[in-house]
């Protein structure tokens, strides 16, 4: 991305997420519809994953509840846990919900404790856990943190 593209992306993002108007964040990728926040949370940058026909693995509950998302992340080895603090040898995912308790977004924790998100069909950003919270079109509030042990190969990469 050029400096001008990053500046325009930052402007647009700041307008949408009140928590990022004052807090720090970094734009990390150009816009793409190849994948979304759920795909990005599980390191899949080739699929747009969402409950419902044509966007969700077969055999999993297809609603937008936290329970449905917990179930699908369980297939990837994630289990519910307390808090988004960095824990050695664990990687974490945060689920965000709106006022109707419907999941709106997922973010993945990086090895330095920061969080990375794919914003719909737009950019990847690095941000704080609460940075993308707020009323729509922001993502509401954090409802659930999930974690799984970091695979040995990933620990080496870290």
């Amino acid at each position: 991305m050029t400096a001008e593209e990053i500046r325009l992306a930052e402007q647009a993002i700041s307008r949408i997420f009140p928590g990022l108007q004052t807090g720090w964040f970094e734009v990390k990728s150009p816009r793409t519809t190849d994948y979304n926040c759920i795909g990005w949370a599980v390191d899949d940058d080739r699929n747009w994953l969402w409950p419902g026909e044509r966007y969700w693995p077969n055999g999993i509950r297809t609603d937008e509840s936290v329970a449905a998302f917990v179930a699908v992340f369980a297939t990837k080895g994630y289990t519910p846990c307390e808090g988004g603090a960095l824990e050695p040898n664990f990687e974490k995912i945060a689920l965000y919900v709106n006022d109707q308790a419907t999941v709106t977004h997922a973010a993945r924790q990086l090895s330095d404790g920061r969080w990375t998100s794919k914003l719909g069909s737009q950019w990847d950003i690095v941000h704080s856990l609460e940075g993308v919270c707020g009323s729509p079109p922001a993502y509401g509030q954090v409802a659930q943190i999930l974690r799984r042990p970091v695979p040995i190969s990933s620990q080496d990469a870290r």
Binding site: T104, K118, Q122, P137
Partner: protein
């Protein structure tokens, strides 16, 4: 009142264009005094402005051409769902629903948009056409879903 600064003007409660520049350059009355009557030129101009306003009023009540209507709705939808991940929430947006409401006449416009860039037009196309050309193995692969629909469009005679 400084005649060089255009004051807001209202006609039937709606703001209209300021006085033309010639009047600001050549004040009718000396500075500090209010005009007590309109000149013949001003009266003519006011009548013409009034007619123009009324004609605009009539024009603005016309329905926009289909293509423009589609683009206005598409822009509203894209603006409001910029960071949305749920295809279902995108599809229930009022502007998206109105595009679906345009029916078959919106299909060539949607396919042309889809030919330009991948976006979540799939639900609108399914709703309007009743077809589902996306192969099961392409589920969640937006580019492949886009190509499936463009292929369907060409098979049905659309220029996309």
């Amino acid at each position: 009142m400084n005649p060089a600064i255009a004051q807001p003007r209202f006609l039937h409660g709606r703001e209209i264009a300021p006085f033309p520049s010639w009047e600001q350059r050549v004040p009718i009355v000396p500075s500090g005094r209010c005009p007590i009557a309109l000149s013949e030129d001003q009266r003519t101009l006011s009548r013409r402005e009034h007619d123009l306003f009324l004609s605009f009023n009539r024009v603005s009540s016309y329905r926009l051409p289909l293509e423009l209507q589609f683009f206005v709705l598409a822009i509203q939808w894209k603006r409001d769902t910029l960071v949305e991940s749920s295809p279902w929430r995108m599809a229930v947006h009022p502007a998206y629903q109105r595009i679906i409401g345009l029916g078959w006449q919106a299909v060539p416009l949607i396919l042309r948009q889809l030919a330009c860039e991948a976006d979540f037009w799939f639900e609108a196309l399914v709703a309007i056409t009743g077809e589902q050309p996306v192969l099961p193995e392409h589920a969640g692969k937006i580019e492949a879903m886009r190509l499936d629909w463009l292929c369907w469009g060409r098979e049905h005679g659309y220029d996309c």
